[in-house]
Each structure stands twice: as C-alpha cells, then as structure tokens.
Amino acid sequence: MSGIWVVVEERDGRASRISWEAVAAGQKLAALTGLAVSAVVIGAQTEALATEVAAKALGKVVRVEHPLLAAYTADGFTLALQQFIEAEKPDYVLFPHTYQVRDYAPKLAARLGQVLIGDVTGFAEGPVFVRQLMQGRLNGSYRHSGNGPCFVSVQAGAFRADEAQVGEAAAITVFSPTIDPAQIRTKPSERFRGAAQTVDLGSAQMIVGVGRGIKDPANIPIAQELATALGAELGASRPICDNGWLPMERQIGSSGQTISPKLYLAVGISGAIQHLVGIKGSQCVVAINKDPDAPIFEVADYGIVGDLMEVVPALTEAVKAAKQ
C-alpha cells in the first residue's frame, strides 16, 4: 500500500488554508506511522495548484484531472478518486473537513466499503483518531478496523497550516480518470451570496454587538471598524435600537433577532436575559465590558475587563495584523 495521501482542496485557484492544515496533519501522521505522505489535487486544470503543493515536504503530487471535474460534483469527484484509490491503494486518505468533503467523502468511502472518520481533532498512537461527540462535550477515540484504505478528515484549525513543512519539490504526475457525462447526475450553479438588501443577522457568521456601554452614538464607528476588520456584521442590544442609534433590524435579543455565529463580540453589553436568549446559539462569545460583574461574563468564553474605547481599537489593530 502506498502510504498517506492528502486530498488538497482549492479555493480560487490556490490551495485553501485548511488544505495546508491537512498537509501538516498528513505529515504528522506520516511521522507517527512511518509511512510516506503524498498529495493529490483534483480538478480540470490543476497544474498551478500542483506546483504550489509540491513545494511542501511530500513524496509525490498527483494531478487527478478531467474536464468534467471543472466544477465540483459529488459524482465526479467520487468516481475520479475511486479510480485513483483503486490504482494507488493508499493506506490512508486524508481530507480537510470542508462542506465539500462532507458531501462526497462519505460516498467515496462507502463505495469502497469503508467509513470516513470525520472532523478529527487529533491523533495518537495506534493510530487512534480523536473526534468530538455530544456537541464538543465528549471526545471519542476511533480506530480503523479491517483491510482497505482508512479515510480521515481533519477539523479546521486542529492542525496549524504554518506547520506544513516545506521540502524538495515533489514529483508531479497526472492521473486521468474515466468519467462519462451521464454519470454526473447533479448540476451545480455558480455560488452566490445571500440577500444583501436586508440585514440578516440570523445567518451571519461573525457579529459585533454594541450595548449601552458605547454611551454615545458618535462612538459606534469604533465598533463598526472592528466589525469591518473581522468581516463581521454589526448588531446591538435593545436600548441602542430603541434610542435609534442603530436600526431595529440590528436588534439582537428575545424581541429582535436570534443569532448563531461562530463568533460574537459583546461590546459594552451587560447581559440582560433578553439579550442572552438571543445569543445563546453563538459558538464563541467574547465580552468586553468595564464592569467585571456584568452578567455577560457568565456566558462568555473570553472576556476583557476594560474601557471599550481603548480595548476595541486595540482589538481592531490586532485583528488586522493577524489577517496579514
């Protein structure tokens, strides 16, 4: 069997950050198991992508190429990789756990009589793969049983992209699968953004909320700058909207919008229950408030006790620096 193969996903023609994380994971797994690690890129025109990937410390890079792979489809990618895997016979196939991978990797694994061990956060001797259960309240250790390749996908941020080691340019080869147009049953459109005209906090992934601590409507731009730096939406607790400092559609709370972003920053918000009810779906809550006893800190994952007039600009700068 041919070792570990990392499937690299592209984003706008370049390898996505989470793919580098998968490469780093693959290299770690290689160290753990003593197997070789290589990468596979998949698409219709993968030359540039393959060259980029080959700069990392990998044994080989294979370009799985076919015109029908120009746009992602589950049928296309599954067929292509199935043929590749049957030819190469890998020990492990490692994916980044993206929405795209979730759409085809289980299908691919099932076709080969295997099961994807998905959204892995780490691995240990065995190898044993750790993933989260019960919404993060439990960790489970999985082991692969039987013959055939072991399919694994790694969680975003579980491994660090900057730890993907570089090496000598790996050898690049091309693999051309056989795909009949009739085998591709789904037709995807171009991707598009959600409705831009109304503020839809309900589906925003990152939100900065302002509360009474902002004291003056003239200070709101400070929060807006933070939001812009993060690529976040701006929301507010009820009193701010009642005063007309922000429109009612930006109200977060039991009588406004219920939000469930990855990240919610509560700036100058004390944490009345009507507001807490609106934010309870947030994955990560950060609170910035000068009152250390503010109830918002009870539900925050991270908190900074301080004057938001100083903390927020500092945070904006730090975020911009990190995005560089």
Partner: protein, 256 residues
C-alpha cells in the same frame, strides 16, 4: 410525491454527560431523549413539500423501544406513517452499518425523495444521508436549506462556507441532507398528538433486514475533554489583552 424522512432520537441537548462503566459511551440511565435537531428541519421540509404537492411523508427511524415517543412526535407534526427498525445495538454499528439498515428499509418503499438531517446531535458525523444515497444508487446533495420541485426533478439551495450558497439541480429520486434553520419549525400540537394515535407504525427488526453490521470505524473509548467551559478573562493593558484574544480566537477557539 412519496418522501421518506430518516430521523434519529438523540439525548437532549442539555443532557449531563457522564462516561459509562465500560468507558465506551455515556451513561444512558436518567437521560432524556428527543428528536435530533436537523432531522426536525428535514421533517419540516418534507411536510411543506407534501402540503404543496400532495403525497405521503413516511418517517423512518432505527433504535430501541424508547424511540416510540419521537416517532409519535413526528406523526403528530404531520407525517402519515412510520417505519421503526427495532435495533438495540445501534451504537455498535458505524455510519455505514446504520445506513445499510436504513437502505434495506427504504428500498422496497421506492420513494421519490429521501431526506435526512445534516448530522446528529450526539455523534455529529453527518454521513448517514450521503452513504444512504450511495447504497441506494441515488444522486444526492447535502447541507440543503431549501427544496423546490421542478419538472425534471428538484432544485435545491446548498449552504457553502462563509455565507455563500449554491443551487444544485438534480433528478428524482434523490437523497438530500437538510441543514438546520432553513424553515421555521412547526410546534407539536395537541390535535396532532391525538391524531397520531391512529397512524400506522410498522416495526421491523434489524435481524430481519439482515445487513452487514461489523464496524469499520470502531469507537474504542470516550473521555471528557480536558478544559471545561469557563470564562477566560484576558489580563493586561488593552493592547496586550487584544493580542492575547486574537491568539486565542485563532488557535484555541478556531473561529478566526
């Protein structure tokens, strides 16, 4: 159209997580169970399609006897009948094993559409629907927020990362995994529960379905995560605290 909705009964979200004696799963005694959240959205989508286009909604679930109330809840919300795969060792099967059970029950029904929730609240693998499609030889799409019937099949709205979406056209029969939040859920009503008493629930045992059950991905043991959820107050002057926060958000919380 005939729509099958595969649902799962899972422990309630606030359930207290304690490891059982064998260390292989959580202690189940004293747990309250409920319908998996994204399955509720799948059911809602199916009911709305039935209300628009007519037909039948069948709920399918695998599990031990305790899944009864969850089946009744689905019937109360408007499903027409139910199929219960009586299986006491669901936890010992992996996603492929469970999908095989479901496929065996789905095949004779020959539905136009199979809906599942995106992922379960307990194991969270998000694979059952996709594998089911493979086993049934049907096209699929996942992370679906909206389904519309067309003359040639379906057009669905699929969620992508970071606020992007894509529409996908596919023929029926097909399998879709439904993401939470696409529709407003209907609440269970007293009238629904009363009417559910007369709806058919067909039980078939896992043994009767005679599928391969040896797992390929074996859950060896479970453990509580090291850090408990508590608020980390970041100290220092604004600049220091801000920098520390960004670091945490990037590498610990992994949201940046």
């Amino acid at each position: 159209m005939k729509i099958i909705v595969a649902i799962k009964q899972v422990p309630e979200r606030d359930a207290q997580v304690r490891i059982d004696a064998a260390g292989k799963w959580i202690e189940e005694s004293g747990l309250q169970y409920t319908l998996n959240e994204s399955d509720a959205y799948a059911l809602e989508e199916a009911l709305q399609l039935k209300e628009k286009h007519g037909g039948e909604v069948v709920v399918l679930t695998a599990g031990p006897e305790r899944v009864g109330p969850t089946i009744r809840e689905a019937l109360a919300k408007g499903a027409d009948r139910a199929i219960h795969i009586d299986c006491a060792d669901l936890g010992a099967r992996d996603a492929l094993g469970v999908a095989r059970l479901l496929a065996a029950a789905v095949k004779p029904e020959a539905p136009d559409l199979v809906l599942t929730g995106l992922q379960s609240d307990d194991l969270g693998q998000g694979q059952t629907g996709v594998i089911l499609a493979e086993l049934l030889g049907l096209p699929h799409s996942s992370l679906i927020l909206h389904v519309e019937k067309t003359d040639t099949g379906m057009t669905v709205k699929r969620e992508l990362e970071e606020g992007w979406f894509r529409t996908v056209e596919l023929p029926t029969p097909a399998v879709l995994t439904i993401q939470s939040g696409g529709n407003k859920l209907r609440y269970a009503t007293l009238m629904g529960i009363k009417r559910a008493k007369t709806k058919e629930v067909r039980t078939v045992t896992a043994a009767e379905l005679a599928v391969d059950s040896a797992p390929v991905a074996v859950l060896e043991r479970v453990a509580l995560p090291q850090k408990q959820k508590s608020t980390q107050i970041l100290p220092g002057n604004p600049k220091e605290a801000a920098a520390a926060l960004v670091e945490k958000l990037k590498f610990e919380a992994r949201v940046l």
